[in-house]
Structure formats: C-alpha cells, structure tokens
Symmetry: C2
Subunit: 236 residues, 2 copies
DNA sequence: CCCTTTTCACCTAGGTGGTAAGAT
DNA sequence: ATCTTACCACCTAGGTGAAAAGGG
C-alpha cells in the first residue's frame, strides 16, 4: 500500500524497542507523481539535495530510548542506462524500450530509458546519519523527520561525507531506525536492534542533467527554489 | 587575564568530569573593542541575535562523557539606565556621568549612560541550551562552539524560547558546562556536575535601538550582515 | 521627551535549472 | 554522440541598521 514501506527482514527476533517502529512517507502523492514519470535525481561534484526531500513520520518508538536514524541507497539492478531511442548501439544490445517496472510507462512519442550494459563498479557504500542523531524516541516522533541535509554526489573521491552514486544507474533509498543499545556486548545484538524501511515510490535514476523533460517541468513546478523558471502561474 | 573566564564557585568538590574543563573566548579582540566603547545588544519582540556571537573553544573535557552546554544572562546591577547628558531628571537622582567600570570611559564631548533609578522587575530567567546538546566531550572540543542560534527579546510573553531581557539594563552572559551524570540519584550531585564561565568583556547594555553612535559604526564595520550600511571601504 | 515598534532596502548564504563549453 | 562540468540569473530564507511612526 502506498505510503507504507516494505520492512526488509521480518520483525521476528527484533528487539522490542524497534519491532513496533513504523514510518509513514511524507509528501507521498508528490513522490508518486514523480515516480509515474520516472524520478530523476541530479548528482554533482559538490553534492546536490534530493527533491522531493525524503521525509517520514515515525511512530511506535520507545519515547525514552535513544535511536539513531540513517539512510543508504541500494542499487536497484546491475545495469547502466542511457536515454534515447530504441535502436541504440549500447553494449547491452537491444532491449525493450520500456522496462518493468521502473522506467515507468513513458515512451509514447518520445525517448525513454534503455538498458545499456552492466553497471559500473559500485561506488563506495556510504550512509547518511540524520544530524539530530542520537535522540530519544519521543523527540523523533514529535514531528516529521526530514533528511534535507542529505546530498548526492558522483565524485568517487568526495570528502564531504555525501552519498556517492553512479550517474545513469537506478537506486532505492532506504531508511533505518537503530536502537542505541546501552548494554555491554551490544554489538552481539546489532542485528536485532535496527529496523529498515524501503518506499518503492522513492526510487530514482541518478543523472548529471535531466533527461525526461516532464521531470524537469515537475521539479520546476513543485520545488520552491526553482520558482525562477516558472512562467504561467495557474495557481496550485 | 583577557580571554579567560572567571569560574564562579571554586573547582574544589567538583566532579572530575568537569573540574578540568576550560573555555577560551573566541573573537576576544573584537569583544574587547566593543567593550571599550560600552557594548550594546539589540532586543526585539521577535528576537535578535547577538553580535559579536558568543563562541568558545573548550578543553579539558572527558572525550567519552556526555555534556550539555548552555548560557544564561545575569543582571550586572539593580539599576535601569538612560542615555543622555549629566543633568538628567531621572528618578535615581544625579549620578556620575561615567560609571565604574561598565559604561566605559566615553563621555568626552558626547552623551553617556546614566543610572536612572532601580531596575525593573526581573524578566523570566531563561536559559539557552546549545542545540547540539547533549554531545560527547570529544565532539564539543573538536571545534569552536558557537551560540549563533541564541536570540534576545524584550517580550515578557515570548513563547519562542528566546532569552528575555529588560531593555536599558546591563547583563553579563554566562556559560555553563554540565556533565550528564548517568548515575541514579544524579540530582543529588547536581551541584558538582557543572562548571560556569563568565567573560567580563562580553557584558553589555540591552537596548531597543543603538544609543552610542560609535557602537553602531563598529557593528556596521564588523558584522557581515550590515555590509549594506558601509560606505568607504578602506579595507581591513 | 524618551523609548519602542514596524517596515524596508540591502546584505549573507545557499538551493534551482539553463546554458554553453568540455570530456570521452 | 552522449554525458559531465562550470558558471549564471533567479529564487528562498533570514540577518542588518535606517527611518518613520507609535506610545506613554
């Protein structure tokens, strides 16, 4: 069901401090609107924020326990993509112009995403800790948790702590709630102390420049910082 | 010695996690330059930041222990002041045009601060927690700790959590390092678990509009956000 | 008369996609 | 031919003191 995440490993065997944790994706309808077109996220050398911003509303935490919140990004497949017409000369050979399910149904009278060979070597697998971590469950549940400081880069040598992704590859953002276990030997319970959430509607293609013009237009229409590129203002 | 704070109560009887704590005021020469003229800080209904910003470099903390950092503001005397000439009609009667030591030696051919009666009822005594609190000693000592989110207001009914001060009254900013004691019954050791610092060069008069024109000029010359009011730029 | 409030032009700081040049 | 980079105008967001208006 939209807005609710798959939770990866089952909740059986989880610490009671995380097993009831739940996360609702905020701005779900906007994410879905992008996802229908095939979301693209810009990556730059200096690092670029995501839009929409990944935001969740949490519940089911122990108000008095400490938690760390973090995100990582999982490659959705082992392919590299290119934007263009069907009869490409990509190394991957001919492939259907529309893939299933990701590069959504959008090859009507325009270009679309085509597989173009195997994925490049995986970028260093980094994680982004929410800057308020660690904090009490009560604090996290009080209001929406926003990952608006998270930035994406294509610079393999980045030393700003940004998330490193390969351009022209597809990713699934993943969100983790980690209970800070005060016990000694807590490492031995590490696998019980976290819970992960993946929202399929937040998957995206990393790009250095937008390819699908409809994505560009939706970004301009919905991101306040891009207001300078709007022309007619039919209200909304 | 300038740049080092008086520490209030002695270090005897303090918890070992705070008794070696030390704080060095940053931008000390700028603070002293303001202090020589008689520092004024604007207070507004919405809240105004301090300039210079209160910043310290910490040392002597236990890198692995948790600390909370906070500030409060102590009235420097029980007087209210007015800006003007010596033969005032203030309720306080005639007072020397230059007080000792605060309203520094600055009554040459202009106005100066004069005592004008007893202080107004004290404003609600609030404290400002550094937003990164709590954090490990190692984190606090890693870099300069800046209280740039702290705002001053004269609104007695303020509900934004800002520091409430009486305009035309003098204050001494005070900085506290509090060890977060994990022991049960830690309340009973509360008086041992903190250490306080006062830097005399940071004392100031709260005002709703600048009175001493030299203060205005120094603010304009040194605060980047006031660059719009600079004219000649002789470099610096 | 003295102090406070409101509004404003002018900044800092940083997030947008467009564009043209650069790289492979 | 395709993707990447650097720079730019144009925004959001918010910190300045000046100036004029308001209040006791």
């Amino acid at each position: 069901s939209p807005g609710w995440a798959s939770e990866g490993p089952g909740t059986s065997g989880k610490n009671r401090r995380v097993c009831h944790a739940a996360a609702r994706l905020e701005m779900g309808s906007l994410w879905e609107e992008f996802n229908r077109l095939g979301t693209e996220m810009i990556v730059t050398k200096a690092g670029r924020r995501m839009f929409p911003t990944f935001q969740v509303k949490l519940s089911g935490l122990d108000p008095l326990a400490d938690y760390v919140l973090l995100m990582d990004f999982v490659p959705l497949d082992d392919k590299r993509y290119r934007w263009g017409w069907g009869d490409g000369d990509g190394e991957g050979g001919r492939v259907p112009a529309v893939l299933s399910p990701p590069p959504r149904r959008y090859a009507f009278h325009s270009s679309s995403w085509l597989a173009a060979g195997r994925a490049d070597p995986a970028a260093p697998g980094r994680v982004h800790f929410h800057p308020d971590s660690p904090a009490k469950g009560a604090q996290w549940m009080r209001q929406i948790v926003s990952f608006d400081k998270l930035k994406l880069t294509n610079n393999l040598l980045d030393d700003n702590g940004h998330i490193i992704l390969n351009s022209m590859h597809r990713y699934q953002p993943r969100f983790h709630v980690v209970f800070v276990d005060p016990r000694r030997d807590s490492e031995r319970f590490a696998h019980q102390n976290f819970k992960s959430f993946s929202f399929p509607e937040t998957q995206f293609m990393a790009v250095t420049a937008y390819q699908n013009h409809r994505i560009t237009q939706l970004k301009i229409a919905s991101n306040p910082f891009a207001k300078g590129f709007r022309d007619g203002e039919p209200e909304s």
